[in-house]
């Protein structure tokens, strides 16, 4: 069955259509979900795309965390539904406490926008379940606040539980332990700074992002999570945008 993926659109998101294009190219069925909605259609997975939600005011993700849709996202995640935050989406997931730690400004004082080499270091997340640990991927990064940090206890837990899912081969931003992506204890919530949706064709320089997004689609179409969505929200309304009241 085709996996349906909700892509949450915040004011200031700017990677949502790239994610939709990538998911649909790989055989999924991705639709936009407006952040002002209170309910989710019965999706198989959710993606929080990159960009500058709410202008990154106060801090990246600090305001987006309080968007109405986030309560439904938290429920979906708590019920085991796959949730992936890419770049700004990762920042939102940390602010929402769905993932530990924080993303601080890059060590080198500069905004970074270039392809990097990543190593998959754990297969226990929905985004890396089909990728053998040790596999290297070439995927672009595009961020100023991508320098992952957390306290020593959290880092020890992430390492001990095999929850660091992606590491930079050459650390571009000062991220602690070369971390590019992590997951929650259940493996269904994943945050990463690189943009797999921008690496789905060799015409774009790399199609290595397909490995990650295919894993997500496979994880989503399996029966590993109950329908985490609010069944009363009609699927037909899922792709429709509505302005905030």
């Amino acid at each position: 069955m085709t996996a349906t993926v909700g892509v949450v659109l915040f004011p200031g998101s700017n990677c949502e259509f790239d994610v939709i294009e990538a998911i649909n190219t790989l055989g999924g069925d991705a639709r936009l979900v407006w952040h002002g909605e209170h309910r989710l259609a019965p999706f198989d997975a959710l993606v929080l795309p990159g960009g500058f939600a709410h202008g990154d005011y106060l801090r990246p993700g600090a305001i987006a965390r309080f968007s109405p849709i986030m309560k439904a996202v938290e429920r979906f995640a708590a019920e085991g539904g796959p949730v992936v935050g890419i770049c700004n989406g990762f920042q939102i997931l940390t602010e929402a406490h769905l993932l530990p730690g924080a993303l601080q400004k890059n060590r080198g004082l500069t905004f970074l926008c270039r392809p990097v080499q990543l190593e998959v270091t754990s297969s226990r997340s929905v985004l890396t379940s089909d990728v053998p640990p040790g596999q290297r991927l070439r995927i672009p990064i595009n961020h100023f606040e991508g320098n992952y940090t957390c306290d020593k206890t959290t880092l020890a837990e992430l390492q001990a539980d095999d929850r660091v899912v992606l590491r930079y081969v050459e650390n571009p931003n000062g991220s602690i332990d070369d971390i590019a992506g992590i997951c929650n204890p259940a493996g269904n919530v994943v945050g990463l700074m690189p943009h797999p949706e921008r690496a789905i064709s060799t015409l774009l320089g790399s199609n290595d992002g397909c490995h990650l997004l295919r894993s997500l689609l496979h994880s989503s179409s399996s029966d590993r999570h109950p329908a985490g969505a609010d069944a009363t929200a009609a699927a037909a309304g899922a792709g429709r945008l509505r302005s905030e009241p």
Binding site: R59, G101, Q104, R107, N147
Partner: protein, 85 residues
């Protein structure tokens, strides 16, 4: 009573402050050779109605912890003064 609040949000000691570093690096070119340890932050001002200063402070501390700062990387200092007029 109404109180005027000033919250200063700064990065915790040990957290890199690229903006502060960049400002400090620019200073010698302007002849400011004696300035060290530049750190940047955000100033947030607002007013709050509360029965007494301690109540106002408790509310603002809660606000700082849950919203105005990310305690993983930031800390806040709070000034509370009776609003004038």
């Amino acid at each position: 009573m109404t109180f005027s609040i000033l919250v200063e949000v700064t990065l915790r000691p040990g957290i890199a402050d690229p903006q502060g570093t960049t400002i400090e690096r620019a200073l010698p070119a302007l002849g400011f050779d004696s300035i060290r340890g530049v750190r940047t932050g955000k100033a947030i001002r607002f007013s709050i109605d509360a029965d007494e200063e301690a109540t106002a402070r408790a509310t603002v501390d809660d606000l700082c912890r849950r919203f105005l700062t990310n305690p993983v990387i930031e800390e806040a200092s709070v000034q509370v003064e009776p609003a004038i007029g």
